[in-house]
Amino acid sequence: MAVLNMVQALNQALAQAMEADPRVMVLGEDVGRAGGVFRVTDGLLERFGEDRVVDTPVAESGIVGAAFGLAVGGMRPVAEIQFMGFSYPAFDQVVSHVSRIRNRSRHRFTAPLVIRIPYGAGIGAAEHHSESSEVIYAHTPGLKVVVPSRPYDAKGLLLSAIADPDPVVFLEPIRSYRAVREEVPEEPYRVPIGRARVAREGTDATLVAWGAMMREALGAAEALQAEGVSVEVVDLRSLVPLDVETVVASVRKTGRAVVVHEAPRTAGFAGELVAIIQERALYALEAPVVRVTGWDTVVPLKRGEHHYLPSVGRVVAGVRRALAG
């Protein structure tokens, strides 16, 4: 089996989807000739031509609005937004139309499109290049929201997203693009949307994370193992639909939970998880659910970024707090 990083796995998924279905197309800023600023669409233009791999003007609302029309009209567009910080100009199209046309037309019209958005901090980038605003999509009814943390899931989830009859916001952790390499089957396969994954089993506490923060979660679990603390780590993979069973089952078992995300704390997605955990498993909880998150600030630039992002140390401290109760 080939050993791929996430960029390669995503690229393979796109190529296979385009190979299998002539309705699948890719559009966005610099996705063609340049192959995408992260090279996720590298080689697709040469292989599938200008009709199906489209460099667009710099206009995010245009990209998503046109992709919406393409999808309603029978295509299966995969739109790329260059960085999450540039997804906001398209927010109206996503919230007011992409997510709603099925409901508005009672299934008569549908918008099966994928919006790929690189997200997250940790590469010392300029402002607007480090956002993690998944919650604004997760809160929007009618969208599925998916976040792979490793190459295998990236490929399988992207193939599921493209095949999905409904719009999927597909968040790609920039920091994980090339950080991890693993075996990825050559043939197409799907990882189901809406299923979390127990990335590491444990008995003393549950860590819930997704995307780039999985590295810190697993790192913390590893560090705590050395101290004899056994931490279960759940990789959500999908925020919507949320796999409540897997999360709750784990917390029922361990009695303690820590949620990690790099987004700002206030009204971040951790709140949803805490709410659900205590709704379903309050009496199993031996301590408050701990949130280890970014601060309520803009992501600092390079010199201060490490002060913002949850580190292995902060996650370890969070688990200790959960253990102490």
Binding site: A66, G69, V72, R106, P165
Partner: protein
């Protein structure tokens, strides 16, 4: 001075074929039979429009956005389409949508507050009316693009008002259409107001049509109360689109005779005299005079048309009002192809709440 962009070479006088008195000042682009058919459609549309306002006053519709005065702009352009072309229009475009196949009944049902009005019959390629201003131009762009990519020759038309031309999405849509030379027609019904804001405070541009050059395709300014002028310009634009010639921006100068919606009081921002002046350019009466001159209209036929179309509208109202409300599961059941576990649970929660409240589940 070299390099300084100046006024366009072409005068900004709107194209006209039929004067307000119903006299021809150009070649009529439609024969008498077709003209009678379109006249009938405009009469029907006006009956519907009056019905809409009346129903609202009786509390049977939520709000209603009248289009009186814009019948020629809507019917004259819609008739230029092929039956399977895409139409993406606004809350004020009931006449165009109906003419293109969207039943009165469903337009009413949606206005009564039922989402099922948003589902036109299979084969009617009309999206439910756009409530947001501007965004839907991009939808027409994408639809036109999808058709071309799938090797079909359907085109798409987007209807929008003068206010919509100020939204960023107007710009992005026209720019995409120009770059990809898409088969799309942008039909601006410039009815002089966006709610209370007059056209000259919407933009300092001499016209909306003039903007087309900034996107690399033609713009046309027409008398929007002139059925023939609207038809001719739209037909040309549709033909250009269908034959691979790319997009066109058509600006139809017209006027909203009624309030913005039944909740609006236009006396706050315009004079009765102004409205009167536009009433004299009424698009329906104009065609009636033309037909009368051509001895293709008489009061008997008028009465018959009004009776038949009125009855059809009454029947549509009855059918829409007879639609039973949705059950909770159906109400919550159209966000996804199959509901998420969360939605299933929420539907159960709603059902339980209703039962607890003693409402019939």
């Amino acid at each position: 001075m070299e390099g300084l962009t100046g006024r366009t070479a072409v005068a900004q006088e709107p194209q006209q074929v039929l004067t307000p008195d119903g006299e021809l000042v150009g070649e009529p682009p439609l024969d008498l039979d077709d003209t009678r058919r379109l006249y009938r459609a405009m009469v029907a549309a006006r009956l519907y429009d009056r019905k809409g306002s009346a129903l609202q006053r009786q509390g049977r519709l939520a709000t209603y956005p009248p289009f009186e005065g814009q019948e020629a702009a809507q019917v004259g352009s819609a008739v230029a389409l092929r039956a399977d072309d895409w139409m993406v229009a606004t809350y004020r475009d009931a006449a165009a949508m109906w003419f293109h196949g969207y039943p009165w009944e469903l337009l009413l049902l949606q206005r009564m507050g039922d989402e099922r009005g948003g589902a036109p019959p299979e084969g009617v390629n009309v999206l439910p009316p756009s409530i947001t201003v501007g965004a839907h131009l991009l939808h027409a762009v994408g639809l036109a693009w999808a058709e071309r990519l799938q090797g079909r020759d359907r085109i798409a038309i987007a209807y929008f008002g003068d206010g919509a031309t100020s939204e960023g999405d107007f710009h992005e849509a026209l720019n995409f259409a120009g770059v990809y030379r898409l088969p799309v027609v942008f039909l601006c019904e410039n009815n002089q107001y966006a709610i209370s804001t007059p056209r000259e405070r919407q933009t300092a541009a001499p016209s909306i049509a003039v903007r087309a050059e900034g996107y690399g395709f033609p713009g046309v300014l027409v008398d929007g109360n002139d059925l023939f002028a609207v038809y001719r310009a739209t037909a040309e634009a549709v033909a250009r689109a269908r034959s691979g010639g790319g997009p066109t921006l058509v600006e139809a100068l017209t006027y909203r005779i009624g309030p913005h919606t039944t909740a609006d009081d236009p006396r706050r921002y315009r004079s009765e005299a102004e409205v009167e002046e536009w009433r004299r350019r009424d698009p329906v009466e104009r065609v009636r005079r033309y037909l009368e001159r051509a001895e293709a209209w008489d009061p008997g036929w008028q009465a018959q048309v009004e009776a038949e179309e009125g009855a059809a509208i009454e029947a549509a109202v009855e059918r829409a009002e007879a639609v039973p409300p949705m059950e909770p599961e159906e109400l919550l059941g159209a966000m996804f192809a199959s509901p998420t576990p969360q939605l299933l649970e929420q539907a159960r929660e709603l059902r339980a709440a209703l039962e607890e409240a003693g409402e019939r589940p």
